[in-house]
């Protein structure tokens, strides 16, 4: 098991995070013991951040003390790995659909560094009061106006860094993904400096991860 970034480990072709709640699985991922510690396999087909890491994203802006605002947290699959890494930080998980939110709340009861926010990411003013200083905005929302949501929240919370998982097919089904990505890069690039743009294939089709800095 080789450390490839703070809190992230690699063994063969798989990546892992150290389990914050040993013995417990979140999404039926594999648990592995190594030198007395337990690690959870991070599945790139289930988590776009894992896909971005395996596809060679250079900077992973998450560490032990990270404070993360996560938009579109769903069941908390990816967020649970963030929670493994940011043991002394906090992850605010925003989700609008109540069924995944129910599962996410269960997770927040077990993991002390996770906070559930059942709200619409289109309306950051509704959860502004709960979200204290954050250093990373992470978004994975398959909506037509996903870029607008991202920019609105970047503006509101002013984190140092942002990562958005762009799903081309949600933005425009009729347009070529390449063209959509170009347009999205332009739109985001007007406001923030784009550090990296990474394709997520073969793990997720027609997706890219864009990371920005203020």
């Amino acid at each position: 098991m080789k450390k490839i970034a703070e809190g992230i480990f690699k063994e063969g072709k798989r990546i892992f995070t150290e389990n914050l709640t040993p013995g417990k699985k979140v999404y039926n991922e594999k648990l592995v013991r190594y030198k007395g510690k337990e690690y959870r396999s991070w599945n790139p087909y289930r988590s776009k951040m894992a896909a971005a890491i395996l596809n060679g994203i250079k900077e992973i802006p998450i560490g032990k003390k990270s404070r993360i605002l996560y938009l579109g947290v769903a069941n908390g699959t990816t967020a649970s790995h963030f929670s493994d890494i940011a043991t002394e930080g906090i992850i605010y998980g925003v989700e609008i659909a109540f069924k995944p939110m129910k599962k996410f709340i269960k997770l927040c009861e077990e993991r002390k560094n996770m906070v559930p926010i059942f709200a619409d990411a289109n309306k950051p003013e509704l959860y502004e009061a709960m979200v204290e200083e954050v250093d990373l905005l992470y978004q994975d929302i398959a909506q037509k106006n996903q870029v607008e949501i991202f920019l609105k929240n970047m503006e509101k919370f002013q984190p140092d860094k942002g990562i958005i998982m762009v799903k081309a097919r949600s933005i425009n089904i009729a347009m070529e993904p390449k063209k959509i990505f170009e347009r999205v890069r332009k739109e985001i690039g007007r406001k923030y400096e784009i550090k990296e743009a990474i394709k997520l294939s073969p793990y997720a089709r027609d997706h890219i991860a864009i990371s920005v800095e203020i």
């Binding site: 709340i105 002390k112 926010i117 059942f118």
Partner: protein, 315 residues
């Protein structure tokens, strides 16, 4: 300039240099959850009301009665500086999320989706089982094959014959109970629609209304849709196929099930679908907002135009 900002643990009055005054919330997850809940519903907290006399600058429409809307200087305070730790925030947010989920669960118009989809599943399953039952029955007779025939079947006297007979009869009974479940669920949907959307269900029929509302995510949402969207609800795949590959555009989605469209000659269906969608759109607005019953007039208008379209030689 004096600014007002509310954080999850209290309300702050401050200026360019320092915090001038504050009102902290009780250190109780339940009470904090209650405060945030009120704020999210657009209410003003008593702690906010208290600072009204300072005429502070605020940046939230919710507080327009407390101060002047304008650009607010960012306030850098965190709960732990005042003894409010992350664990308290987490507990309060869990309480709040659970409360709001409960509200969501209580909405009948969200649950009607499940009833509609259950109905679709029952119809599908019933048809599959009916076909299976007839196939099985074919081995025992030259004619018939209805439920009653199967229930009266005589297979033979051997031990295995008796067991087979019981099993095929069980299948028939299962279908009977599915048919009853289907009637019951149709009645439930019909009654719900008459209460929830009397205008739309009068124009479009209960089943179509239920499907439209389920697809839109509530009568309020349906009321916000333009008629063109209502016309194509349920035909999304055909619409995207059209946008992507240039196949002919769909003319109708869920509303195709309406007798007026189903029975019309093919070349007039597009026009009728447009007419029906327009009337549904108006009816939905009445159901969601004014709550007036306008279906009779709407229906009259609709039928007049319908006759015109049917009679017209134009395609």
């Amino acid at each position: 300039m004096t600014y007002l900002k509310t954080k999850w643990f209290g309300v702050f009055l401050y200026d360019e240099k320092k915090i001038k005054d504050k009102k902290l919330f009780p250190k109780e997850p339940d009470e904090i959850a209650e405060k945030i809940y009120l704020m999210q519903k657009g209410g003003v907290l008593e702690e906010e009301e208290y600072f009204k006399k300072h005429k502070p600058v605020v940046d939230d429409e919710r507080l327009s009665s407390i101060g002047k809307i304008g650009k607010v200087k960012k306030l850098y305070v965190m709960g732990k500086e005042f003894g409010y730790d992350n664990d308290l925030l987490r507990k309060a947010c869990i309480k709040l999320a659970m409360r709001k989920i409960r509200e969501e669960q209580e909405k009948r118009e969200r649950r009607i989706t499940e009833a509609v989809e259950t109905l679709d599943d029952i119809i599908k399953v019933t048809n599959i089982l009916l076909e299976r039952m007839r196939n099985w029955y074919d081995y025992f007779s030259f004619e018939g094959g209805d439920i009653e025939d199967v229930l009266a079947i005589k297979v033979g006297d051997k031990k295995l014959d008796k067991i087979e007979e019981e099993n095929i009869k069980n299948l028939a009974k299962l279908i009977v109970s599915l048919q009853k479940a289907r009637k019951d669920i149709e009645n439930y949907i019909k009654k719900t629609m008459e209460e929830m959307a009397p205008n739309v269900s009068n124009i479009a029929g209960a089943m179509i209304s239920a499907r439209l509302i389920a697809r839109a995510g509530g009568i309020d949402k349906l009321a916000m849709f333009p008629a063109g969207t209502i016309q194509l609800l349920g035909a999304e795949r055909a619409l995207f196929r059209h946008l992507k590959d240039g196949t002919p555009p769909p003319k109708h989605g869920i509303i195709f099930q309406h007798e007026m469209i189903k029975k019309a000659p093919k070349e007039k269906r597009g026009k009728i679908a447009r007419l029906l969608a327009t009337k549904i759109s108006i009816a939905a607005k009445a159901d969601a907002f004014t709550k007036n019953f306008i279906a009779n007039e709407l229906k009259k208008e609709m039928m007049e135009k319908y006759e015109e379209i049917i009679k017209s030689k134009e395609k």
